[in-house]
Subunit: 209 residues, 2 copies
């Protein structure tokens, strides 16, 4: 028995963010497939009745339909012991990186859709912006490593790591390699080794899983 429902497209990076977090938390959800490519189901009247702006994923939690990966991750993290720090500084840092995942790093998500699915958009510009966002993450993690932690916030994995992970893990889909990002590669190895980790097509396994 579960009260969670996830409206999900298996090839969508934002949906994977939530599938990954559910699995790391050991929580089950009833899955409802939404055929975005090539079905265009995100624009159907039935889906728009649940998600008026056509945003995926949609997570039903505590009786509420929550639209978008950032909101779904935050709602799932709320009330956990370790994935969302309660101290003001830790909470603020996680909020910062969740916004980064939905803001500057969204260029990476859009670039992937252009390369993989032929969506319209500024292919080169978004690829460049996406790579610049990965560079900001790399610089942060390189400093964190000097502080003795491989994670984005604090001493263990938080929902921030979950939000940021897919864009880097899938960057080869939009033709940005991992060679120039040693700190992100180290972090990715830690992510792949977390209990409950699940992968998706396009993520290299690094021999970890």
């Amino acid at each position: 028995m579960t009260d969670l429902v996830l409206h999900d497209d298996v090839l969508d990076e934002n949906c994977y963010r939530v599938r990954l977090f559910l699995s790391l938390l050991g929580r089950q959800a009833r899955m409802v497939a939404v055929n975005v490519v090539p079905g265009g189901a995100q624009d159907s009247p039935a889906f728009r009745a649940i998600s008026p702006a056509g945003v995926l994923p949609v997570l039903r939690i505590a009786g509420v339909e929550v639209c978008g990966a950032g909101a779904a991750l935050l709602a799932l993290a709320h009330g956990t012991q370790t994935w969302l720090p309660r101290d003001p500084g830790g909470f603020a840092e996680v909020a910062h990186w969740l916004e980064f995942a939905g803001g500057p790093l969204a260029a990476a998500t859009r670039a992937r859709r252009i390369f993989l699915f032929g969506e319209p958009g500024d292919r080169d510009g978004l690829r460049r912006q996406g790579a610049a966002a990965l560079r900001i993450m790399e610089d942060h993690l390189a400093l964190r490593w000097l502080d003795g932690s491989p994670w984005f916030v604090g001493d263990g994995p938080t929902v921030a790591d979950v939000a940021l992970f897919p864009a880097f893990a899938l960057s080869r889909d939009w033709e940005v390699g991992h060679e120039a990002f040693p700190a992100l590669r180290r972090w990715m190895r830690r992510m792949l080794a977390l209990p409950g980790f699940v992968t998706m097509p396009g993520i290299p396994d690094l021999g970890v899983v």
Copy 2:
């Protein structure tokens, strides 16, 4: 004495979101002016050292630099008694609307920049998307009104109302009038009457303040 610092541009809608919330909370922040138009200061090395992706506003809170309005609002709401519900359903609803403010409603924010400041972009497309996002908010508030509440979540104002307010209040800047949005107009009246409300150029006063 305050530990809060806000890097702020007075004409920026996202900065106003945070100024408004600070004022509603009765909290002081040391203000640091960032001259975006016409100065382009968001791209200066000094500002990029604080906000690597050039995102405004930046709020320093609990010793942490938080970039972006959504993250700053969430960090400020954390630990308040009423602005961020703690029950799972209320928390999930607020998370949903914060993501909406930074997602579909961001078209409104971008449309305003094109109309006011001549930024490049798809003027008509973004104006249309912004108006569609306001329509989703109108439909939600019309239903809420039938339930007896004028607020987006629960029985009183939350950080969701603060995040959503500026895009509607400033919509005339991008040539979308308020006539077609009676529920949003009613809600705006309530917002303007909140203790601590502060306005910004472009927001009609409705005779309330």
